[in-house]
Amino acid sequence: MTPEQIRREVSAWLDANWRVDRPLIEWRNLLLEAGWAAPHWPEEWYGRGFTLEQTVVVVEVFREMAAVPAAQVGPRGLASETILACGSDDQKRRFLRPILTGEHTWCQLFSEPGSGSDLAGLSTRAEFKDGNWILNGQKVWNTSAHHADFGLLVARTDWDVPKHQGISYFLLDMRQPGVEARPLRQMNGHQSFNEVFMTNAVVPPEDLIGGEGNGWHVAKTTLSFERRGFSRRVRGSTLDGPKQGPIYEEYEEELRIAAEPYTWYPQREGRVDLVLPRARETGAIADPATRQEIAKLICLHTGAKLASDSAEAKRKAGTTDIIPEGSIGKLAASVIARQASLVHTMISGADAMLSGPESAADGLIAEILVSVPAISIAGGTDEIQRNIISERVLGMPKGYRADQGPFRDIKRNA
């Protein structure tokens, strides 16, 4: 279908079906049936098999007509894409619909106190007892876990094989007595991530995804979605036009809760968009040293944008690309954020000491300065991205490994 055809079909469908007095869930179920909830998914799973460009057209029409889209915010995308790629039909039937309607929110339960970068070194234990998987252990840094209904969880099911082989991947119901999420306060004052304790938490066998011992493969699928999305994460789409009516109230409430942990995410990327306006407003634009740093930032930012457009074009054309977009893009995002943070500091001068309402741009500048350190940690640290680039892209030899053989015998954190 051409963009014009899609545009016409979506508009006609919205004209016939979009009503602001419909309950949110009922509306989203209509979307699902019509294939407008996730147009890039296959037809049998609420989609239309659209390409990314075709999907963008659909999103645009929804925005222009101020029609509420399927639920998108937060880690639910990681869940739905992972389930779509690795789940059984039964799992797709049970989980995909409520993710899209917004009935279920999700979180990612990967990192542990003892294993972060070394995700495959995890030690949360899952044992099969009396027909169910019983989970014990602790996860940490889990964004949105405090309000999530389900979690994507990796746990160890075999301690006698090499570390990557003994892992299984579960879809964990968070609303049970054996699961407790405790919010953690971050250095920027927000409480987005949590620690999560599992004490005899129960997972029925039908919620093991990808098969026993196959969890590392499924986890890599999730991670590749995460890295790819890093520079262009889908946030709650803003809708054009007046938004009056009950469905908007429900939608706003959903966003308020689901998007709350992410309000500072644009700041951790350095807010390059604020640099020139701030430099002009403060007069720092006249300072030669500041101008040099701003221009360096622009070179990096423009280069990263052009490089990712070009990688995208190559991917579409099917020509092989030696550059794994994810790791390079993620490292670029860190470099840019750090340079932006430096520039914002130069622009503010001594005012960079202030925070909250005292700080410029309604506190945003202070928030940038104390949020940027997260970008080079979350989703795989800069050092890990450099390992991936040097070993997988450049083919540089792997170093000495101390973690081979049965997991049981590997040295790890107490």
């Binding site: 634009i285 040099q292 221009a295 390079i328 030899p397 792997k398 000495y400």
Partner: protein
């Protein structure tokens, strides 16, 4: 704007790259840099004449191939990769660009075909190589085109048949053509860091010339942008060569019982370098597309020149550091690229000058 290269452009790259690998190995570069002339006329004729590389970016009406800044960039990048020795930058890029930007139609028709076929070696004489703002301060022309003054550094003037001079004539800038055997013309070769690109001091003492066009600040800037974009491509090619050869070296060299490429300090330095080169490459390719589309070209060219120069120097520093002692020897080829990187970094404006130019343009647009 097209983000990717067309199949024809890809083919051009493959052909040029293959030819240069054959004709411009490091042994040939060493031979030419040690010679007074600095290049091999037979190779020049074959590549830039017969194969048409000198005219890749010139209109077909003047004997060129009809390509644009993108095609020119492809050739420059491949030349930079092998450190090709020859007056390509001086003749095809600088002088050819000056004729396109500033010469009258009749003079273009007369002079460009020689440049396009490589038969004429030309160069462009500018009395300031730091910034277009300073050009025209040191060479003056009378109404009859008699030139006097000095250009402190001119690329490949020692081999030029034709010198195109930007000089102040009255209150405006003109483009003047001087034959190599003109009276009152002194060309004094200079000792240079990068021996693969020769420089001379050119002095005019009542030297007769022919005025062939006028330059506005705008056309001078556009000329500057063309040259900077081509030079940025050349630098990306050089950086890529250094990067690849350095990564390969770390896989072969053993210390402490393992290849040095398995040490994380070196891996991370290589990963960072890859990122720096990729980002610089992206803005460099972008500058050529902007020139061809006549859209935002000064800004894009300055961005490219600044980013490519920094990336080339990073690659050059790493290439020596990661080789250790051997990297600091005359015998090892790395220093040839290091010196080209250093020379290119400051030719037509240091990165700092170009960043300042970006900001000035940004502010005047706001």
């Amino acid at each position: 704007m097209h983000i990717e290269f067309s199949p024809e452009q890809q083919l051009l790259r493959d052909i040029v790259s293959r030819a240069l690998r054959e004709k411009s190995p490091a042994t040939a570069v060493r031979e030419q840099m040690a010679s007074d002339r600095g290049y091999d006329p037979a190779v020049w004729q074959e590549l830039c004449g017969d194969a048409g590389l000198a005219g890749v970016h010139l209109p077909e009406a003047y004997g060129g191939a009809g390509g644009g800044a993108v095609e020119l960039g492809i050739v420059a990048e491949e030349m930079g990769r092998t450190l090709f020795c020859g007056p390509f930058l001086a003749s095809a890029v600088m002088a050819g660009g000056a004729l396109l930007e500033a010469a009258n139609e009749a003079d273009r028709a007369e002079l460009l075909p020689g440049i396009a076929t490589g038969a004429t070696i030309a160069t462009l004489v500018l009395d300031d190589l730091n910034s277009p703002v300073g050009v025209g301060g040191s060479i003056a022309a009378t109404v009859d085109g008699v030139l006097s003054g000095t250009a402190a550094m001119v690329v490949d003037a020692h081999v030029a048949d034709l010198l195109l001079v930007v000089a102040k004539g009255g209150s405006s800038l003109g483009l003047y053509a001087v034959e190599a055997d003109a009276s009152g013309l002194d060309i004094a070769p200079l000792e240079v860091v990068d021996q693969t690109r020769k420089l001379s001091r050119v002095t005019f003492s009542d030297t007769p010339s022919r005025e062939i066009g006028q330059l506005t600040r705008q056309s001078l800037n556009r000329l500057w942008d063309r040259v900077c974009s081509a030079l940025a491509h050349e630098m990306i090619g050089g950086a890529q060569h250094l990067f690849e050869s350095t990564v390969a070296y770390t896989k072969q060299r053993f210390q402490f019982g393992r290849p040095i490429g398995s040490f994380q300090a070196l891996k991370h330095r290589c990963a960072d370098l890859l990122l720096e080169i990729e980002l610089a490459r992206a803005v460099t390719y972008h500058s050529a597309r902007c020139l061809d589309a006549r859209e935002g070209e000064p800004y894009a060219a300055s961005m490219a020149k600044a980013a490519a120069a920094d990336a080339y120097m990073s690659a050059a520093r790493a290439a020596i550091q990661l080789r250790g002692g051997i990297g600091f020897t005359w015998e090892n080829d790395t220093h040839l690229w290091f010196k080209r990187a250093k020379g290119s970094e400051v030719l037509f404006g240091t990165p700092a000058i170009h960043r300042e130019r970006m900001m000035t343009l940004l502010e005047s647009a706001a």
